[in-house]
């Protein structure tokens, strides 16, 4: 029995016909979208989306475009890594966007410089003591805010047994309130140089991809990952099998919260300002990335790799629209259609694979 290592015999099992990973479908959708933009670009613009047709760069690629495609989704992508984990537990996190807003205001208040253009910083929130601090302090403040928000979410979901949708909706409203109250709606600006480096250039991308690799590993090779999938698959069974479900859920929400906090730090550093409206509807985009990437909202299924590809799809679409000079009024319409189309393609592939077998 040559296939003994895969089971205890019985039926014929043809190893070569293993079901192909879901991520491949999503990747296929990404390629398809890129090809579509290239074709439309060649027809209507006589230009290429990804390739350098004007000899502006040393390589054959339009490097500026490649960079912006991923830069513009890196920050929400970081949030999506956390949201993916929450969704895999069959939960949802509607608060991440607002947590970004609140954290942005609070963290930035500890990242301000003392003097702007020779004069005292006009936007300073606190006194002297909070100015010109080393960059690590606002970073820790940001992570701390995310931790607290995630912890509260987790406790509400796991111990008070409030449905995640409502618990995080409450946190969404609360955090948005905090963001606006913090400086009474006024923006917080002028960060120190050290802080400004965190989100400069390709840093957001580097952080995003490192975190993606780290959490891909954690979700697949550690107890944490296994229990996350188990809870989402059947919470009752996970409980009966002796997993400490509430404690684990709190940990998942804390990680999601801290990733949102980190995203806020990078966001403010990249934009050199914090504004209470920051992060608005990021939660939806993060969830969209995850779901386009094949994460099931009913829990138990999905992967970080899928989410990263989902983020890239959104990045390509965003840049592709500007590339094609699509009118802003049509952009949202077409974006809606493409998101639906990408998922439809994935569904169709899965069904075909199941039927073909």
């Amino acid at each position: 029995m040559s296939d003994a290592s895969e089971g205890t015999g019985g039926l014929t099992f043809d190893k070569s016909k293993r079901s192909w990973p879901n991520e491949l479908n999503v990747f296929g959708a990404l390629i398809l979208i890129i090809v579509a933009f290239e074709i439309l670009g060649a027809i209507f613009m006589q230009q290429s989306l990804l390739f350098d047709t004007r000899d502006r760069f040393d390589s054959i690629f339009n490097e500026a475009r490649l960079r912006i495609i991923i830069i513009q989704v890196a920050i929400i992508g970081i949030i999506a890594i956390g949201v993916t984990q929450v969704i895999i537990t069959a939960g949802i996190d509607l608060s991440s966007g607002s947590v970004v807003g609140a954290t942005a205001m609070i963290a930035m208040s500890f990242a301000q410089v003392a003097t702007v253009n020779g004069a005292a910083n006009p936007k300073a929130i606190f006194g002297e003591w909070a100015l010109d601090l080393p960059w690590i302090i606002p970073v820790f403040v940001g992570l701390g805010c995310g931790f607290i928000a995630g912890f509260i979410n987790g406790v509400l979901v796991a111990y008070a047994r409030i449905p995640p949708f409502i618990a995080t909706l409450g946190m969404m409203l609360f955090a948005r309130g905090v963001a606006q109250w913090w400086s009474l709606g006024n923006p917080v600006s002028f960060p120190t140089e050290g802080y400004a480096k965190i989100g400069a250039g390709m840093m957001p991308v580097i952080i995003f991809l490192s975190l993606a690799v780290l959490f891909h590993f954690i979700m697949n090779y550690t107890v944490y990952g296994k229990h996350t999938y188990a809870i989402g698959s059947n919470e009752q069974a996970a409980r009966m099998s002796g997993i400490n479900v509430p404690r684990h859920l709190v940990l998942v929400y804390v990680i999601a919260g801290m990733l949102a906090g980190l995203a806020a730090v990078i966001l403010t550093s990249k934009n050199l300002t914090a504004q209470s409206g920051m992060g608005l509807s990021y939660e939806l985009e993060a969830i969209a990335m995850a779901v386009i990437g094949g994460v099931s909202l009913f829990g138990g299924r999905g992967s970080i790799i899928g989410t990263v590809i989902g983020a890239l799809i959104i990045g390509v679409i965003t840049s592709g629209f500007t590339f094609l000079r699509l009118g802003a009024f049509y952009q949202e319409m077409v974006l809606g259609m493409i998101i639906v189309g990408a998922v439809a393609l994935d569904q169709w592939q899965q069904q075909r694979a199941a039927a073909r077998a």
């Binding site: 004007r54 502006r56 339009n62 500026a64 475009r65 960079r67 912006i68 830069i71 513009q72 920050i75 807003g101 253009n117 936007k123 963001a179 606006q180 009474l184 709606g185 006024n186 923006p187 917080v188 600006s189 966001l267 990249k270 934009n271 050199l272 300002t273 504004q275 209470s276 409206g277 920051m278 608005l280 509807s281 965003t318 840049s319 500007t322 590339f323 000079r325 009118g327 802003a328 009024f329 952009q331």
Partner: protein, 292 residues
Amino acid sequence: EMQIGVSVARFDDNGLTVMRNGMTAFDDASDDVSLQMEDATDDVAKQLDQINNFIASGVDAIIVNAVDTNATEAMSNAAAAAGVPLVYVNRQPINMDTLPDGQAFVASNEIESGTLAAFQMCRQLRAEGKSGGARVYVLVGQLSNQAAVQRTKDFHDVIGMDMCNFITIIDEQTANWSRDEANDLMTNWLSSGDEFDAVFGNNDEMALGAIQAMKAAGISMDDVVVGGVDATSDALLAMSVGDMDVTVFQDLAGQGAGSIQTAMALANGEEVDKTVFIPFKLVTPENLADFQ
């Protein structure tokens, strides 16, 4: 033909729509320029990304209606690094003093709008003999929005002046720029039965919502001073029938067209003033005809 990328803070904002219309009209009339407009949906980060997308597409110039005027430094840096001219329109960038070469600003001064409206309301209340004490409700726009914060602050500053310190604010709440929310909020206020003399809305839409609520409750609009900002056509109509008393007009269409001209000049390498200033104008029933 010159390619210009435009990033507007919000497409569904009534005032900014007038500005956009000004730009589109200019674009339609001119063969030398082709606009690509993007909606930043009130998201600072998205706006910065849009600018980078414009740069990646190789546009000749960029026009920005900033979501948050505090976030303009990063935008100026990005455009300057790529050598693409940049024009800010309608909202004054925070780095005005240090704008790099090839960048300019076309707008009105936002501080004027709230101040003009508030001061006119104060004068009118005085004229109606309420200097012994007048009570006001304030409808605030979206709390995360700069203009809302600024206009509300202007109102506070005006009633802090000696001449207007007879005015007290009963309550100020947000109605998120929306007529419907303002209507409900006003009805809520009316249900307490408190006496009041005036209502100030951060924009005309909210002022109109308050008017609808008061009329539904049978309150005579002659007894209440209502002020707004924007001079939308709905507001001008309300003023013509005596419901609305004060609003403020800014030549947004003019700003839109002006920003394109400035951007084209910069792209052609011409010398341009760093600021092009287009003032606000107060609208009252007396000068209403000029704006209709």
